[in-house]
């Protein structure tokens, strides 16, 4: 485990650097010294209240939200890949994303004219949509007391397509709300401030915490359900626990930042090439790696074309794909 501690320390340093960058950088140029003053010594009368507001009301909550979401997506992606023993598994495979999208778009199109009081309505609807969709997939795939993996994946694909089709239908008929729905779907923080952070934090912490206890179980599961049972693992309970934790985490993330792809797929893979296939190492490293990656992607999203802001989801895809290919070519061994 020594190598794990060392790897975690390195990732912690990278994370702190990323957090620092995220706080220092934005459409408005604030000298680093001023930012640091604003953070650690806000009582100082020298600090411009505008700077204080930018740092405390905009940059800090956004940084925290994005690192939570990055950690959530990568952590649950790692868990899903282990659970399904499939390199294409990601948090969206069994319907979390399409369900969240359907819930959110439903809330948007049905609630027009929307009042600004119900700011939590759309995230709550997205969250509910994700949970219900995954529950539906799970019950469809149920065979007796267990849900075989291939059936889960197939049911997930089918239900996701259905949810996406319904969402498209709603979008077609939602001329007034189209823009609002698309803004949500394209990903990135739709709400600034601390409210999304308080909304997402409990679920992501609980979900990731639960997943971190499942490292050994995921290792055992790599040998198949039969061998896992024969080694004494209660496969059905473990599977349920992992799916609930991962889905809760993903749903909270998607509810507040829309659908950001690639993080859950790529980061666990990258970690696998660097750290091997032991889930007791992969899970914590993926969580750290996801947080760092999404923070860096968001920094780029905010600054490349300032004051325009690119949707983070587009950046993660653009950055993630070639990065992944690079890793693939560098690694000499098949890492699955």
């Amino acid at each position: 485990m020594k190598s794990l501690v060392r790897a975690l320390l390195i990732s912690l340093v990278l994370l702190v650097v990323s957090i620092g960058l995220s706080l220092a950088v934005g459409s408005v140029k604030i000298p680093l010294a001023t930012t640091l003053q604003g953070l650690f010594n806000p009582g100082q009368t020298q600090v411009d209240p505008i700077v204080l507001s930018i740092v405390w009301d905009l940059r800090l909550p956004r940084t925290i939200l994005l690192l939570l979401v990055g950690a959530a997506l990568a952590g649950s992606g790692c868990a899903y890949q282990g659970l399904f023993r499939n390199p294409l598994a990601d948090p969206y495979l069994i319907g979390a994303a399409s369900g969240a999208g359907l819930g959110a778009v439903l809330a948007i199109t049905v609630r027009w004219p929307a009042s600004t009081l119900g700011y939590l309505t759309i995230p709550a609807a997205g969250f509910l949509g994700a949970i219900l969709t995954v529950a539906a997939v799970f019950s469809i795939a149920r065979v007796g007391k267990s849900s075989p993996i291939t059936t889960l994946i197939l049911a997930g694909v089918a239900v996701s397509s259905f949810a996406t089709a319904l969402t498209s239908l709603l979008l077609i008929n939602a001329s007034g709300e189209l823009r609002r729905a698309l803004v949500w779907l394209v990903g990135g923080s739709t709400m600034s401030g601390w409210q999304p952070v308080w909304g997402a934090l409990p679920y992501i912490l609980i979900g990731l915490g639960s997943l971190l206890t499942m490292g050994h179980a995921l290792n055992v599961l790599q040998f198949g359900d039969d061998q896992a049972r024969q080694l004494g693992l209660r496969v059905n309970i473990v599977r349920l626990w992992i799916i609930v934790a991962a889905t809760l985490t993903t749903a909270a993330a998607v509810a507040f930042t829309g659908i950001i792809g690639f993080v859950g797929l790529i980061i666990p893979h990258v970690m696998r090439t660097l750290a091997g296939g032991d889930y007791r190492r992969l899970l914590p490293l993926s969580i750290m790696g996801g947080a760092i990656f999404l923070l860096l992607a968001d920094i780029l999203a905010r600054t490349l074309l300032a004051p325009q802001e690119l949707p983070v989801g587009i950046l993660t895809a653009l950055a993630g794909a070639p990065f992944f290919l690079f890793i693939l070519r560098k690694s000499k061994q098949p890492f699955w």
Binding site: N219, G224, G232, G277
Partner: protein, 253 residues
């Protein structure tokens, strides 16, 4: 002693196993043979708790296995599956350590005792030198021995093996079965081996269970079960038997 009484297994409307009764003793290998579809694999899966049984009783040392929780059962029965479709990225030592799962906590942190047992298992199977290698770097024979080491690390009185040699070439078949026999005798394990090759069964088994179409066709010593008239009937092909070092050699006529 492992005791199976009137075991029946139904799948949908098909009766896979019908009223199977036999015992297996420690320090002895029970070879399970029979034509394809006879129910050999199903029998082993039922004993290791993977499928529910319809009727009958399974017990070890007079403790019923039927309602036993997975972890307790895993301390009693270890299975050695065929070495196919294994995850490539695990190290050999990590794989063998997984055999200690029924004894470790949720974190999978091995204690000193776990480490000792894993070392012993690897020594017994001559796999210490492979400890840091990845699974996908090994030959089929080596992988099969690793799985045997894992089962040994599980420290169980009962050992189940389902056709462990079918994809190995002759040298590794003999190597594995020699090893298995020695360990079974040394550790006084109760071993059930499903074997496809009748001659290997003849060579290594202390007792033979012959299944045919879900029913028990014969149960007893090799010389009593491996007889031309019994085998020809079950395998539906004329069989002749020669004897070599007092062990029957089976050929089609």
């Amino acid at each position: 002693m492992l005791s199976i009484q009137h075991l029946s297994i139904v799948f949908g409307s098909t009766r896979i196993l019908q009223s199977i009764t036999f015992q297996a003793r420690p320090g002895k290998i029970l070879g399970i043979i029979g034509p394809n579809g006879a129910g050999k694999t199903t029998l082993l899966r039922a004993i290791s708790g993977l499928i529910p049984i319809d009727k009958g009783e399974l017990s070890y040392a007079n403790h019923s296995l039927l309602k036993m929780p997975a972890e307790a059962r895993a301390r009693l029965i270890a299975s050695v599956p065929q070495a196919t479709a294994l995850p490539p990225a695990f190290s050999v030592r990590d794989v063998v350590m997984l055999g200690r799962t029924p004894y470790m906590n949720w974190m999978g942190q091995p204690s000193m005792r776990d480490n000792e047992i894993v070392n012993t298992a690897m020594r017994q199977t001559h796999t210490e030198k492979l400890a840091d290698r990845r699974l996908d770097e090994l030959s089929a024979g080596e992988q099969q021995r690793i799985l045997l080491a894992r089962a040994l690390a599980q420290s169980t009185p009962v050992l189940l093996m389902d056709e462990p040699t079918s994809h190995l070439d002759l040298r590794y078949q003999i190597e594995l079965l020699d090893l298995t026999r020695n360990l079974v005798q040394q550790e006084k394990k109760t071993a059930l081996l499903v074997l496809h090759d009748l001659n290997l069964a003849s060579r290594y088994a202390d007792g033979i269970l012959l299944l045919n179409m879900g029913k028990l066709a014969a149960f007893g010593l090799p010389q009593d079960v491996l007889r031309a008239e019994i085998l020809s009937e079950v395998y539906q092909i004329p069989i002749q038997i020669n004897h070599h070092h007092k062990k029957p050699h089976i050929f089609p006529k």
